[in-house]
């Protein structure tokens, strides 16, 4: 399966949480910055829908994995900044490990001939 350079992929169910947590590992950020960061680092392959970003942020906050504070942005506006909690850090490790296993397993099944390269 080949992917064209500027086409975008739909996010798999549940992966947005992992991406948000991973992004916040670098430091606190507001919602817009998180979305842009994911977009940038995935070389624009992953487009975060705003319609699912904010419910996800609030869900993670309710679970205590991230916390939020109102602070001033670089341009001096009030923005809600999210940061990773200790609980969230543990969750990230667990999810990350799970994802690695999953993607390896997917790779093995989809590309059985390239086993050595993988």
């Amino acid at each position: 399966m080949s992917i064209e350079a500027n086409s975008r992929v739909e996010l798999l169910q549940g992966t947005l949480d992992l991406l948000i947590l991973r992004t916040l590992l670098l430091g606190r950020a507001h919602g817009h910055a998180i979305a842009k960061h994911i977009q940038r680092t995935s070389e624009d392959l992953l487009q975060v829908e705003t319609g699912s970003l904010y419910p996800a942020l609030h869900r993670l906050e309710a679970r205590g994995w991230i916390a939020a504070d109102w602070e001033l942005s670089e341009r001096g506006k009030r923005a809600k900044y999210y940061r990773l909690t200790i609980k969230g850090r543990k969750q990230l490790q667990a999810e990350h490990a799970k994802w690695d296993t999953f993607s390896r397993a997917m790779g093995l099944v989809l590309n059985p001939l390239n086993r050595e390269e993988a």
């Binding site: 507001h30 919602g31 817009h32 910055a33 705003t50 319609g51 904010y54 419910p55 609030h58």
Partner: protein, 902 residues
């Protein structure tokens, strides 16, 4: 729980969160727009692009809100608002439902408040579950088995304290009864208590002010006093400077050292002492040489202790029983009573038993009211069930008018669970509203009950203040009630298959769920039968108790008590005070005759027991000793209370301290001491029998005639002391008006310091002695009537509905020439059959319930035919009445209208 709280917290912060979310999204928009602008887009376009990128804002906000986790709360809120709307649309129904529920729940809560105060509430002390009370068994000749009592001799307390390793502390106490407390020249009656000095420390009670007894303070000459919080407020105006101040108890000076905390009011239900003094203060108040040393003939104190951690009651009992028995076995050989077989049996066959005391020490109030209150709880519970059945039927009828609505909703895809939940929300809202209204009603009701139980006693020693138990009870009962009357109609009316219901033309014309509404009415009748039978049994018991021949005439006798000892008279001078009072009372206008005695004809204070072990100088073998009750009376007692003197004479004034000793016996005693002889002139002990009187029932209407010995009051004096302090005066009057005021004046004119108390007529005193049965008779009659009324409403509703449903049928019958009485019978017969079914179910049920009340009944069995017959008659009558109105409506059906109606 935590989660619920968190969600509730969110509810209140909801609006703030909403605003924040809006701000957050706004910031996102601006950020997006600015970045696009920076990338070169025109401002307007950048803004629009940002908006587009954000998508459906309402949906986004909805999705976000869902993560806050109040979806179920919002649904609940919806159901709640829906219920409120439904109830508002039908205020008559809502009002009737809430009122009947409030009545039912309120009655249950009121009775439970009392039950809680009398039986369940733990003592307000540290770790009450560790407390145990000492009791011991005494083997009896008569029954062969032992009775348990809780009295011990002082040397036993010392022995337990010295040797027990299983208890961390052991204390003893005794009631002082009425005491006269003087302060700054005023005096007043109070309840006193004497206890060992570790009493408060073992209980773990801290003083509110001052201090409690210190270790070693309970010794000869101890004259310190601790004052109870309530007495401190009522008598001393809550003045903390009373500490260190001087008061007098029975004219003996004491120093106040501390005040108890407000929640502590003694350690047994119904006994809340006003003043505590150390045990050895007893020597200042009532010297008694036997008190501290004698192990057998002077058991006067109660003992309790606290288990050490990890020690069970059984372990402690095993240890203490050994100490108890060893002590008695050591004392027996050196005792003057060593030859008595009863004492030997007590020593060798008696045992110590520990009783759990977390809810308080043994209490007469608890003993006499535990069963009546439990029965009342049952009665109140049944009333609530009847009310539930009624409401269930009302809801059912209402629901059948809404069957179409439900069918539509089910057809449109509403889940049955959601409909049932909505139904239940409605009934629970009703029940909770009822419970809310019930709370003040219950509070008022329980106070009224306490006032009734302690008739005339202003310092009712029982607090029914609501505590968490009572609130939990009300909440639980309300919730349960709501589910109980809501569930059946909810399940029943949502079972409908939408198809046929929607095909029916008119709403409400559908088939009613026949069996359920009829079953409910039959159940109502059956439960009413139980209540009315119960009321009948208690009313009959009361009537039997009043009609017993007690051996004296209750009418027109006023009684009052005077205590010279409390006014500081030594016992040798008390006699002359009483004689003077009696002389003045006898000549009062309106008084036909007056007398004095220690025990009243009906007495709630005490009774006196003795043994006759010597007849005409001949000592009786121990097993033939005659157990007698006794009294000491003044001349004129028998004529005042109208007990006939059968032979010989009444006491006279010449039977005084210096005259030869005389006694009067009743017929029972004459018969058992002198079978087939004339007892006059014979001697019992040292006293000569001068008269024989008719038997009278010594301890109330339930008593049997028993041997009774009368001593002359004014001869009884000097050597035996007025150990019981007060004397009761009886006045046979012509008219009661103003008499008690005149009597007080006369007593005051002898000495204004003489306390006068318990002024009441013999009839009133008898009423008080029958309080438990009166309480049961009154309340079960009230509740029975209530249940009957509810059942009546249920019947009426059912039959009215049935008639409405059958209007067309009745119309056709009438058109075809059916006779009117036949139509009437058509309706009434159904009522009658249902009633008979209810009675058939209720009578055995009532009989079962009556088994619990057996020990309270008097003169009738649990299956009293008269009571049952009356119950059946009442129920059939009432049901016929309830069925009559719909039946008459059936008769008025106009055939033409009825036929057009279809």
């Amino acid at each position: 729980m935590n989660q619920i709280l968190r969600k509730l917290g969110w509810m209140t912060r909801r609006s703030r969160k909403e605003a924040e979310l809006r701000d957050e999204l706004q910031f996102h928009l601006q950020e997006e727009a600015e970045q696009s602008e920076a990338a070169g887009l025109p401002a307007e376009q950048a803004k629009r692009a940002a908006r587009r990128e954000l998508g459906n804002v309402a949906l986004l906000m909805e999705d976000t809100r869902a993560t806050w986790g109040w979806i179920w709360l919002e649904r609940f809120w919806q159901d709640l608002r829906y219920s409120a709307r439904m109830l508002r649309k039908n205020p008559g129904f809502a009002l009737a439902a809430i009122l009947s529920l409030a009545l039912g729940i309120g009655a249950n809560t009121a009775i439970f408040s009392l039950l809680n105060a009398v039986l369940f509430r733990p003592l307000p002390v540290a770790d009450p579950q560790q407390l145990v009370q000492f009791t011991n068994t005494i083997p009896l000749w008569e029954t062969g088995s032992g009775i348990a009592r809780d009295l011990y001799a002082y040397p036993q307390l010392e022995r337990f304290q010295a040797q027990s390793k299983t208890l961390s502390g052991i204390f003893g106490w005794t009631g002082l009864g009425r005491i006269n407390v003087g302060s700054h020249g005023t005096s007043g009656i109070a309840q006193g208590n004497a206890s060992s000095d570790n009493f408060f420390s073992v209980l773990g009670v801290r003083p509110r002010y001052g201090r409690f007894f210190s270790a070693g303070e309970d010794r000869a000459g101890a004259s310190v006093a601790v004052i109870g919080d309530r007495y401190w407020r009522t008598r001393f105006g809550a003045d903390p400077s009373i500490i260190g101040g001087a008061i007098t108890v029975n004219q003996v000076p004491f120093t106040v050292i501390g005040i108890t905390p407000p929640e502590f009011s003694g350690i047994s239900v119904g006994g809340s002492p006003d003043i505590w003094v150390p045990l050895h203060a007893l020597d200042l108040l009532k010297p008694d040489s036997k008190r501290w040393k004698e192990p057998f003939s002077s058991a006067w104190m109660q003992i309790a202790g606290r288990l050490r951690p990890a020690i069970s009651r059984q372990q402690a009992q095993a240890e203490l029983d050994v100490i108890h028995r060893q002590f008695l076995a050591q004392q027996l050989p050196i005792s003057q009573f060593s030859g008595l077989e009863t004492v030997q049996r007590f020593v060798y066959e008696g045992h110590l038993v520990l009783r759990p005391a977390a809810t308080g020490m043994s209490s007469g109030l608890r003993d006499s009211y535990a069963l009546p209150l439990k029965l009342l709880m049952l009665v109140a519970g049944i009333v609530l069930l009847v009310a539930c059945a009624n409401l269930a039927n009302l809801l059912l009828a209402r629901a059948s008018n809404r069957r179409r609505e439900f069918a539509v909703r089910l057809a449109l895809g509403a889940s049955r669970g959601r409909l049932v939940r909505q139904f239940l929300t409605e009934s629970i809202v009703l029940a909770l509203a009822g419970g809310l209204l019930a709370t003040p009603m219950a509070w008022w009701g329980s106070l009224a009950l306490v006032r009734m139980i302690f008739a005339g006693d202003s310092r009712a020693p029982l607090s029914v203040d609501p505590d968490w138990r009572i609130f939990a009870f009300t909440a639980a009962v309300s919730l349960l009630t709501g589910i109980l009357f809501g569930l059946a109609p909810a399940l029943c009316s949502t079972r409908a298959d939408p198809g046929p219901v929607m095909k029916e033309g008119t709403p409400g014309a559908g088939r009613s769920p026949h069996t359920l509404d009829r079953t409910l009415v039959v159940a109502q009748v059956a439960l009413s039968v139980v209540l009315i039978t119960g009321a009948g049994l208690f009313l009959r018991t009361l009537q039997k108790l009043w009609s017993v021949n007690v051996g004296y005439d209750r009418e027109h006798v006023l009684m009052l008590s005077v205590d010279a000892e409390l006014a500081g008279y030594p016992s040798d001078r008390a006699g002359s005070v009483y004689r003077e009072i009696l002389r003045r009372l006898q000549v009062l206008p309106g008084v036909k005759s007056a007398s004095a005695s220690i025990v009243r004809p009906v007495d709630d204070q005490f009774y006196l027991l003795d043994k006759v072990n010597e007849i005409d100088g001949r000592r009786l073998p121990e097993r033939d000793v005659i157990h007698v009750a006794w009294n000491a009376t003044s001349p004129g007692y028998f004529s005042t209370v109208s007990t006939a003197v059968v032979s010989g004479r009444d006491f006279e004034l010449r039977d005084n301290e210096t005259a030869p000793k005389v006694v009067i016996v009743n017929e029972s005693l004459a018969k058992s001491a002198f079978p087939n002889q004339d007892p006059l002139g014979h001697r019992l002990g040292l006293a000569t029998i001068v008269g024989v009187v008719k038997d009278s029932l010594y301890s109330g209407a339930r008593d049997q005639p028993r041997p009774l010995l009368y001593h002359p009051l004014f001869q009884h004096g000097p050597d035996q002391e007025y150990r019981w302090g007060f004397v009761s005066f009886e006045l046979r009057y012509g008219s009661l008006s103003n008499l008690s005021a005149e009597v007080r004046r006369e007593v005051a004119s002898v000495d204004p310091n003489l306390p006068v108390f318990d002024t009441k007529t013999l009839v009133a005193q008898t009423e008080e002695s029958l309080m438990e049965v009166r309480l049961l008779a009154t309340l079960s009659s009230f509740f029975g009537a209530l249940a009957l009324l509810l059942a009546c409403v249920g019947f009426y509703g059912l039959m009215a509905y049935a008639v409405a449903r059958r209007t067309a049928e009745i119309g056709i019958r009438l058109a075809l020439g059916a006779r009117r009485d036949h139509i009437m019978w058509l309706v009434l017969s159904e009522t009658l059959w249902l009633t008979l079914a209810g009675i058939a179910a209720g009578v055995p049920l009532a009989w079962c319930a009556a088994q619990f009340a057996k020990s309270l009944l008097f003169g009738i069995g649990t299956a009293d035919p008269l009571t049952i017959a009356a119950t059946v008659a009442i129920l059939i009558g009432v049901a016929a009445l309830a069925g009559c109105i719909p039946a008459r409506r059936a008769l008025r059906v106009d055939p033409m209208t009825a036929l057009r109606y279809e």
